[in-house]
Each structure stands twice: as C-alpha cells, then as structure tokens.
Symmetry: C2
Subunit: 325 residues, 2 copies
Amino acid sequence: MRKITIEDVAKAAGVSRALVSIAYRGVAGVSDKTREHIFAVGQKLGYVPNLNAARLASKGIKTIGVFLQDLHNEVFADVFDGIRKVIDEQEVQLVISVGSAEPGRDAKAIDTLIAARVDVIIAAGLTMSDSELQRYAKATTLISVTRKAHGVSSVSSDDYLGAKLATEHLIAGGHSRISFLANPQTDGYLGRQAGYLDAMATAGLPALVKESSYQRVQAEADALELLEQGKPTAIFAHNDLSALGVLDALVSTGLKPGADVAVVGYDNTSLSQTPVLALTTVDPHSFELGKTAAQLALKGLVGKLDGDDSVEFQPELVIRSSSMR
Amino acid sequence: MRKITIEDVAKAAGVSRALVSIAYRGVAGVSDKTREHIFAVGQKLGYVPNLNAARLASKGIKTIGVFLQDLHNEVFADVFDGIRKVIDEQEVQLVISVGSAEPGRDAKAIDTLIAARVDVIIAAGLTMSDSELQRYAKATTLISVTRKAHGVSSVSSDDYLGAKLATEHLIAGGHSRISFLANPQTDGYLGRQAGYLDAMATAGLPALVKESSYQRVQAEADALELLEQGKPTAIFAHNDLSALGVLDALVSTGLKPGADVAVVGYDNTSLSQTPVLALTTVDPHSFELGKTAAQLALKGLVGKLDGDDSVEFQPELVIRSSSMR
DNA sequence: TTGTAGGCGTTATCAT
DNA sequence: ATGATAACGCCTACAA
C-alpha cells in the first residue's frame, strides 16, 4: 500500500508531472482531453495530492488555522460554524487545533498552527496572558475572537455592556441581592464582571461575587455555597454552562428557577434556548463573530490586516422565564 | 515578517543545518553546550520547525488524523478527550477534521486527512454508506469509532443491547405505548432501533417508530406530532440531544417528564447528567471509546493493525428521574 | 560531535 | 499545450 505520488500518475498517463499538477490544481494550461485522461488515471491509482508537499512548494495555497478553546462549550461550535460558513465558499484550507482546561495548552495549540505554517490564525477563546497574546500577534497574523487585547486584531462582543444589561434587568425585576458567579480571573475575560459591578454600584447595591471555574459541576458546587452564605434572590452566571450549574443547585435545594431565585446566563447557546431550561441570557452573536473573523482572515490572506483591525458586536439581552417570577 | 527557516538558525548559530535539526528533534548527537546555544539563537529568531517540510522529509514523524462528526454533539467532545488522553503522552501529532450535517461532507473531511498524509485515521461518527467506508478502510488505516462495518476496524458500543436495555426498562415500568424517536436511517446506525424493536416484539407490544433528524429542534417538532398521534406514555430517543427535544415538547404541552411521559435518551452526555434534566439514558462510555481507539491507532502506527481489529463495549443503562413516576 | 549532500512530493519558471 | 528543472524546508545516511 505504497503512497502513490504525482510521478506515478504522470508516468502512467504518459505525461509530465507538471501537467498532472496543473490538472489537479484546476488552473489553465491543459487541454480538456488530457485533463480528463489524467483524472481517469489518477482516480484508478487512487492518487490524492500531498498537501504537505504542496504547502511547502507553493505560496499560492492559502490556509487558515483555527483554534477552539473547548469542545464542551457550544459557543465555540457556533463560532466555528460561522467561520466555515464563509470559508467554505473560498478556495482555502482549514487547519484545526483545540485547547483544554490545562493551562499553557493554548500556547501549545497555537504553536502547532504556526508549525503548520498557516497564513492566518483565528483563535477563539484564548486564555493566555495579554502579553503572551501580544507576542503571538506580533509574530503572526492573528485574529482573536471572543477575547480582545491592545494591539491585536479581534472580533468580540461587548461583554461589559452585556453584563450591565443583564444585571439591570435583574435590578428592574426588584432584586437587590444579586450575585455574580464569576469565571476564573484571567486577562481578557473581566468585562462581564466589570459590567455587573458597575450596574450594582450605580444602583447602590452591594456586590456579591463568587469566583468559579469553567466546569459546570464546579459551578453547581459554588452556587450551593452561594445560596447558603449570601442568600441571593438572583444569580448571574458568567456563561450558560455555569448557569446550568446554578439551575442544578437550585433543583437540589428545592428552589424554583425564576419563582424563587432568578437565574441569568451568558452566550445564548442552544442549551439556553430550550423550553425546558428557558434560560435568560445574553446573546453575543457567536455565529456572527465567527463569520466576521473569517472575513477578516480572508483579508489577512491577501492584502493586509492592519495591526489592530478589530470589530466589536453589540450583545443582546434575551429574556426567558428563568429570570421571571 | 519573513518566515525563518532552519538555515537561518544554523547560520546565526554558526553551525550546520543538520545540527539544528538534531537539536530540535531532541535526538542524540549534539553536545549539551551547542544544543543550548542553538535553542537560544532559535528562540531569539522565533524559529518554529516547519511541520510540512518535516513530514515530507521524514517517515519518522507520526501523525494521527481525527475526524469528528459534529461539534454540537458533546459525545464527540468526550471521544476526543479520550483520544487526547492517550495521545498526549506520546510523541505523536494530531490533525483534526470536522464534519457537518451536509451529506457528503464527511467524505471530504476524510479526504483532507488523507491529503495531509496522516498515518492513521480515527473517525468518530461517520455517516457515509458502508461501501464507501469500506473503500476508505481498504485504502488507509482507518479506525471507526461509534460506527462499525464489515471489514473495518472499529471501536464501538453495543447499540442494540443498549437500546434493548432501555426499552425493557420502560416496559418494566409498566409502559405499553412506547415510542422510538429514530435517527436518520443510514448505514451503521440502525442498532438502537433494532434493539427497541426486538424488545417490543418480545414483550408483544406494538412498535411505534418516528424517524427524526439529528437536530434538537426537529426532534422537538417530531415529538409533538408523536404526542398527538400515538399518545405514547414513554418516548425513547436515539440520543440525548433529541431526548432534550422531547423534553421541550413535553414542557410546551404541559406534561411532566417522568410523571406523565417517561423519557429516555442515549449517550449519557454531561447534559443528561444534570440534576435539572436528570435524563435516564444509556452510557456508551464515549471517553473509553476514544481512549481505546487511540490505543489501536498507536498500534497501527508501528506494527500493524489487522484488517478487522475491532472492540465493542458493553453499554450501561443509567436510570434517572425522567423515566420514573 | 559536527558537516555534506541527496531526497521527500509539489509548485512554478522557462523553454519548446 | 506540454516538458524540463530549479526551488521549498527539512531529515538522514554517510563522512570527517
């Protein structure tokens, strides 16, 4: 089962390697007749062009690398859908790399993309430090989605505003003991908490923050503690996944979401949209984020992407029953 | 921002390209002193070995290609976690390729892996026809997970048994009008339905099958129809995602899961494990599936993987409140 | 321990 | 329209 090469096809078809290459790349320079002949032979031999060799030899093959933080969080699936939506219509390759909870893993994942010599990197959900991100952005063409930092191109949603809207919604609902279940405090992901804090301060209400993790189970445990200690009447979680953890905590405490304790998430994942959960949340427009990032990447592929070519979306509050009595 | 090569590093460090190569591959043949020197220079220049060139030149670089059907279904995230768990401890590269609902997309995704010249392919959730799968398995070293077919190595769970257990559980619960919300009827994914049918036949109960899709929203619509037409007292969905759709349908009908209509899913995704949903389901041990597939892939990397080297896991029924009154 | 040189499978430039 | 022939960046005997 030896790998068959372009040379094998050329020999079998009685033409030069150059012609086979031209035929398979679909560029002009072959007669219809010989092209078909070449394809016929190639097909029979089971020939598939070696992308590694092609990438090495060609400056014409465009490929963009995509980093996704976590396959368990549907937000990234949404972003990916958006990316593919626009890339699919293009003659562009995609190389994927995924992260994980493990710290330092995302740097390694980006390195893989660089080693693969992708022309542009779209990174969704980077958790590295600002300085590290900036280093990467300087050395490569990098578009950060979901996360922004000084001097790096990014596509994001205004987390501060979204969180402010969510908090104000709860305040307007008559709640005063509103708690925020925070994500790990890393660079680039402090906007939601800031929005919450400001909204609370403005209303003259005491802030009640509890730091949690990205794991739903952990969120559940933290929410349980929160319920005992702070006795909040409303909990705003940093994302839908942890909001689900809050719902879990309520259920096991016998409390009714909405009626007893209002719950709000963030991301508007398909999960929050289900009638069963009916989770009030903030929509960052993940799919659009992905599409826009891909369009920027396309720009970076040809002309140039300015050092700091960023776009920020307006998030939207989506009210469902989890925050209504 | 020119790409810097091994030659640049060699020149700057005052050594030959060979030495730089040796140093970066971490093999024996360099003095500690010069290795460190080379690394220092390389670091300063921002050198990252070109994987394309490396793969082309070397037969020693092992890489495994991973295909995942759908990022929106957490099952594949679980499988992927399992794969990475064992691969991470190895000196092996991973190339990822993802599918989508669009038919014919998975073939294209596999082609990408082949073009990248991965040594082994782990494909989770292939929906192509048996014959097409068999063609691929003949031309490459392919391990199918979740899905099995004659003559192709696979790692799967006994869907027939799992579905049988689930159905028998419902029968034992006193239900007689039990409906099965089926997945699209494609090659390789008929086991669950078969298990349901046999269990029903054995009990002398009438089968009530409704074909649905892999979309949760579609499952919800189909479940609604089902509730009106067949008046089932229990619904067994082909996976957790569509079971969630069933729960949605119940909620919007004012029916209580468990109390009014029993619901059972399949996959034991983290979703079903949440106290809020508490979905009775069947655990195919997705994480283990991924681990085992990776171990087989490792075998395929070195020695040989027999044409049909398959392993099948025993699924496990996980009873939660969605199927209890 | 270090350097030399040929080859990996394509692409791309120049001829023909 | 077709065919030689250098790159492309790295690996790997083989020499030194």
